[in-house]
């Protein structure tokens, strides 16, 4: 019997959905817009975070040692540094390695090669390249290294040189997170209100119908169920359309984000996380549709 009632109300919901196609269309458009705005905000937030993370991974500080410090000593210091929780990784760059990298970075410039030959010794210093978990931890790391007992073996720490970049990065990160959160919340709130009002108007236009159903002996749930199914249909249609618009937007913005994301660009990012994004939008759409229908219809069921 329960299954029969669910099946009947499902059919009724489907019928209402297609019968009031103009109202359904308007509701879907509004819900699509709401979902689109929320998902674009979320996507841009995630992408911005990913871009910053990507830059963050490229930021590091180098600790240069005096030429007379042996490799063994440096490797010991490297092991000592690994104890710090803030430090993600420490890489040892020997003098020779530094020279190779320098020559390679200068594209084997013959003038530089000649100059190096004339000096007849490697002018570069061995170093440890430190990467932190978080860019705002570099200051503490630099201070810790400067205050360590191997201070006299250190020739130079390039923290000061990178300081401005790192601090800017920290600022941008904080700002993006805050802006994303505030904008996301505002848009979500607007989306909820607009969707709720649209569905409320939709239900208002059918209040006489609900009254008759109740008078004929339909239980509240029986009257509500078709509208709840309608809410699900709105959610599904709106989620599919919002996802399509989102992919189009990602495709348009993709050239601007090329190379700044680990996944390639924004479109590849969307495709990589397609199901997560889609399920997220879908759930939000269905929850918005169903809750709005459920609340909107309640006021007409007091007879």
């Amino acid at each position: 019997m329960k299954f029969l009632k669910i099946w009947r109300t499902f059919k009724e919901g489907l019928k209402n959905f297609s019968r009031h196609w103009w109202l359904s269309f308007a509701t879907i458009i509004i819900l699509t817009l709401s979902l689109y705005v929320v998902s674009v905000t979320a996507l841009l937030g995630i992408a911005a975070n990913s871009i910053i993370k990507n830059i963050q991974d490229k930021v590091n500080i180098s600790v240069y040692f005096n030429p007379e410090v042996s490799e063994k000593e440096i490797l010991k210091i490297k092991d000592d540094l690994k104890i710090y929780q803030e430090i993600k990784s420490v890489a040892y760059i020997s003098q020779n390695q530094a020279l190779d990298e320098f020559v390679a970075s200068e594209n084997n410039d013959p003038i530089i090669n000649q100059a190096l030959e004339e000096i007849d010794e490697n002018p570069l210093l061995p170093s440890l390249v430190i990467t932190a978990h978080n860019s705002n931890q570099y200051k503490i790391i630099a201070q810790a290294v400067e205050g360590s007992d191997f201070r006299d073996k250190i020739n130079q720490i390039n923290y000061e040189k990178n300081k401005a970049t790192i601090e800017n990065l920290n600022k941008i990160m904080g700002l993006t997170e805050k802006a994303g959160l505030i904008l996301g919340t505002i848009f979500l709130l607007i989306a909820v209100l607009i969707t709720f009002n649209t569905i409320r108007l939709n239900m208002y236009s059918r209040k006489k119908e609900f009254e008759i159903m109740r008078l004929v002996g339909a239980s509240n749930l029986y009257v509500q169920m078709p509208s709840i199914f309608e809410g699900i249909f709105y959610g599904i249609c709106a989620a599919v359309s919002a996802m399509a618009f989102l992919l189009i937007t990602a495709k348009l913005i993709a050239p601007l984000t090329k190379g700044s994301l680990q996944e390639g660009d924004l479109l590849s990012f969307c495709f990589q996380y397609f199901w997560i994004i889609f399920v997220g939008i879908f759930m939000l759409g269905v929850v918005l549709g169903v809750t709005s229908s459920f609340i909107a219809i309640r006021r007409y069921l007091k007879i």
Partner: protein
């Protein structure tokens, strides 16, 4: 069957719709409730099917105090009562068949039962040839007959008709009343609220007259005297 015990209904703004009503409707009776607009006829009926609750006093339906029925059980309670309204209250987007079938669907009847019972009841009200029509394709009298078929489909013990002839021409009105009398003849209690003089006089049944929320007279085989 239905008993009003010292029932009063006061609406917000101190509008007294009913005052100290004592009324007993026995099983199988046909009662016409008459009175001017605003006399309290509709309120009296609404108290029976629990759309309104009395301010004081008690309304009993088959010895059960209606006000004790929990809100969520009201729809189930209403399946015992067939209701007919002046504005027909038909679902405009459903056909004649679907309108009547809906009352059975909500009660969880199977499709087989529905397809057997609905044509039968539509035959009784004389609409078996218009099952696939929509309400707007029917005349007022025919729409009211659909409404009556829907009210009858549960084989209710009571039919409550609130101004069922209010929107109909005299011929259709008489057809509806004849149908009510026929239903009453089959043992169903009928309570008819109306201010249609012709209808009451032709029916020649018990007449309860309401005036300013009070029962002014209650005559066993009465005429319209307001």
């Amino acid at each position: 069957m239905i008993k009003f015990e010292k029932v009063s209904k006061v609406f917000p703004g101190d509008f007294v719709a009913l005052e100290n009503i004592n009324l007993l409707v026995k099983k199988g009776e046909f009662v016409s409730v008459v009175g001017h607009s605003g006399a309290g006829k509709t309120t009296l009926l609404k108290l029976i099917y629990a759309e309104e609750q009395p301010t004081s006093g008690k309304v009993y339906f088959k010895d059960r105090d209606v006000s004790t029925i929990k809100k969520r059980y009201v729809p189930y309670f209403r399946r015992n009562i067939g209701m007919v309204f002046q504005d027909f209250k038909l679902l405009t987007e459903k056909t004649v068949f679907e309108n009547v079938a809906y009352a059975l669907e909500v009660a969880g009847k199977s499709n087989r039962e529905i397809s057997e019972e609905v044509p039968g009841i539509l035959d009784i009200v004389g609409l078996s040839n218009k099952m696939e029509k929509y309400p707007e394709q029917l005349s007022g009298g025919e729409q009211q007959k659909v409404s009556m078929a829907r009210a009858l489909i549960h084989c209710p013990s009571v039919i409550i008709a609130d101004e069922p002839t209010g929107n109909l021409d005299p011929t259709s009105s008489w057809e509806i009343v004849q149908l009510l009398i026929k239903i009453n003849g089959m043992g169903t209690t009928v309570i008819l609220a109306t201010h249609d003089k012709e209808v009451v006089n032709k029916a020649n049944k018990r007449v309860v007259v309401l005036e300013k929320g009070k029962i002014a007279s209650d005559i066993k085989k009465g005429k319209y005297t307001v």
